[in-house]
Amino acid sequence: MIKIVYTDLRHIRSVLWRSVLFTALWWVLVEGRTDGWGMGGISVILSLAASLYLMPPTKVSFSSLGCAVFFSFFLIQSVKGGFQVAIMALRPRLKLAPVIMDLPITLPPGMARVVLANTLSLLPGTLSVRIHGDQLRLHILNRHLPIMQELRATEAAIAHIWKKTP
C-alpha cells in the first residue's frame, strides 16, 4: 500500500487532503477540545490507512469549485424534490403515473455513476433501481415530466466534481 502511495506526486497530494479531512472530522467529533490529540493522531492514521486501502488514490482529482457547484445543485434540487413529493402526497387525489425505465448513462464507469444513482434517488421524481452496463434503471413517479433533461442536468453537475486528467 505504501508503495502505491509514494509512486506519484498526486498520490501524496491526495494523502495530504485526506489527512486534513480526517483531522477536521476528528476536531468536529471532539467538539473543538484540544486535550485529545494523542488519540486523535492515532485515529486519523488508522482511518487514513483504511481509506487508502479501500479507495486507493487515482489520477483523477477532485475540483473544489466543481464540488461546490454540485453541492448547490443538489441542495436546490433536493428542496424541490421534497416539496414535489410533499405536494403529491398531501393533495386530495393522488396524481401519479409511475413507470420503470432504462436510460443510458453518459458518465464514465466508476464513482461518477454511483454518485449519479444516489443523487437521482434523492432528487425529485426519480429512484434508482439498478445500474446495469451503461444503463440506469429508474423508477419514475410521473412519466409526463421531462426525465431525460433532468438526468442530463444531473450528469452535467456531477461531471464538474472531478478535474480532467491534466
Binding site: 472530522l25 485515529s43 486519523v44 483504511a50
Partner: protein, 307 residues
C-alpha cells in the same frame, strides 16, 4: 408532553415486542425485533442512560439485524410461514402458564424489593477522584467493578469459542457474485468514518458516554458492512493471528488482574496509574471485542448451508 411521549414509546415498545413474538413469519419477526431495539435505544435515552442508548444503537443497528437475518438463512426456515402455528395446544398452554407465573413473580419482586442498605451513587461519587477517569459509568465498569467486566468479556469470548466448536466446519464455496458498485462505494466511504468514530467513542469513555463496548460495536459493524458489500471474505476458520486478536483483550485484562493481585486485591489499580491502565485495557478490549462481535457474523456467514 414528556409523559405522552413516554407513554407512546412504551406502548410502541410493547407492540413491537408482541408483533415480534406473535408473527409466524420469521423475517417479519426479525424486522420487529430490530424495531424493538431502536425503540429501546430511544427509551434508554429518555431514561437518562446515554451509555446504554449508545450501545443499543450500535449493536441494534449494526449487528443484531445482520446476525439474525443470517441465522434465518442458515436455519433455512424463511420458507415456512405458519410453522409456529403447529405447536400443540397443550404445549402452548404450558408455556403461557410458566410465563404468567414468571411475570407475576417479577412484578412481585420489583414491588416488594427491599430498599438498598448502602447508597451506591454516593459511594461512587466519593471515590471518583481515585478512579482515574471522570465519567462515572467507566469508573464503575473498569475500576470499581472491573471484575464484572472481565467476566463479561470472558463470556463473549466463550460464546464465540462455543460457536466454533459446535458448528461443523463446512466452508461455503466461494461464488463470484459481482460486487454492487453502489453498495461498495458506501462501504469504502463509511468504513474510515466508522473507524474514526470508534476511536472517538473510546476516547470519550474517559469523561462522557462511550467506551470499549460501543467502540467495538461500531468497528464490528464496519466489518459486517464490508462483508455485505463483498469487500471482505467470510471467515472460515480463525488463523493464528486472528486467534491472538480475539483473545488479546481478555488476556491483557486477565494478566493485569493477576499482577494487581500480587499487590493484595482484585483489580485495585494504584490511583496514579488508574487512568493509563484503564485506557490500555479499553484499547485491548476494543480490538478483541470488535473481532469477537464481527466474528459472530463472519464465521456464521462462512458456514452457510449447514444442515
Amino acid at each position: 408532553m414528556s409523559l405522552i411521549f413516554d407513554t407512546l414509546l412504551v406502548a410502541t415498545l410493547l407492540w413491537s415486542a408482541w408483533r415480534s413474538l406473535a408473527t409466524s413469519d420469521l423475517v417479519h419477526a426479525v424486522v420487529m425485533f430490530i424495531v424493538f431495539g431502536l425503540l429501546m435505544s430511544l427509551a434508554w435515552a429518555r431514561l437518562g442512560a446515554p451509555d446504554i442508548a449508545l450501545a443499543e444503537a450500535a449493536i441494534g443497528a449494526g449487528l443484531t439485524g445482520a446476525l439474525l437475518l443470517d441465522a434465518l438463512r442458515v436455519s433455512n426456515q424463511t420458507a415456512q410461514p405458519g410453522s409456529l402455528a403447529k405447536i400443540p395446544a397443550l404445549q402452548r398452554m404450558a408455556v403461557l402458564l410458566i410465563s404468567t407465573v414468571l411475570a407475576i413473580g417479577l412484578i412481585i419482586a420489583v414491588l416488594y424489593a427491599p430498599l438498598p442498605s448502602i447508597q451506591l451513587p454516593s459511594m461512587v461519587e466519593a471515590n471518583m477522584a481515585q478512579s482515574g477517569v471522570t465519567h462515572t459509568v467507566t469508573a464503575v465498569l473498569l475500576n470499581f467493578r472491573g471484575y464484572d467486566t472481565l467476566l463479561e468479556v470472558a463470556v463473549l469470548l466463550l460464546a464465540l469459542l462455543g460457536m466454533l466448536a459446535v458448528a461443523p466446519a463446512r466452508p461455503v464455496s466461494v461464488s463470484h457474485v459481482p460486487i454492487d458498485p453502489v453498495l461498495a462505494t458506501l462501504a469504502r466511504l463509511l468504513v474510515p468514518l466508522m473507524i474514526l468514530t470508534a476511536c472517538y467513542l473510546l476516547w470519550a469513555g474517559d469523561h462522557r458516554p462511550g467506551g470499549a463496548f460501543q467502540a467495538a460495536a461500531v468497528l464490528a459493524a464496519a466489518g459486517v458492512l464490508l462483508h455485505l458489500a463483498g469487500l471482505l471474505q467470510a471467515w472460515i476458520r480463525p488463523g493464528q493471528l486472528l486467534r491472538l486478536g480475539l483473545s488479546a483483550g481478555f488476556v491483557l485484562f486477565l494478566s493485569l488482574a493477576a499482577i494487581l493481585l500480587t499487590e493484595g486485591a482484585l483489580l485495585r489499580y494504584p490511583p496514579v496509574w488508574a487512568g493509563a491502565l484503564i485506557l490500555l485495557i479499553e484499547a485491548g478490549l476494543t480490538l478483541s471485542l470488535s473481532l469477537i462481535l464481527a466474528g459472530l457474523f463472519l464465521l456464521l456467514s462462512g458456514r452457510r448451508g449447514v444442515p
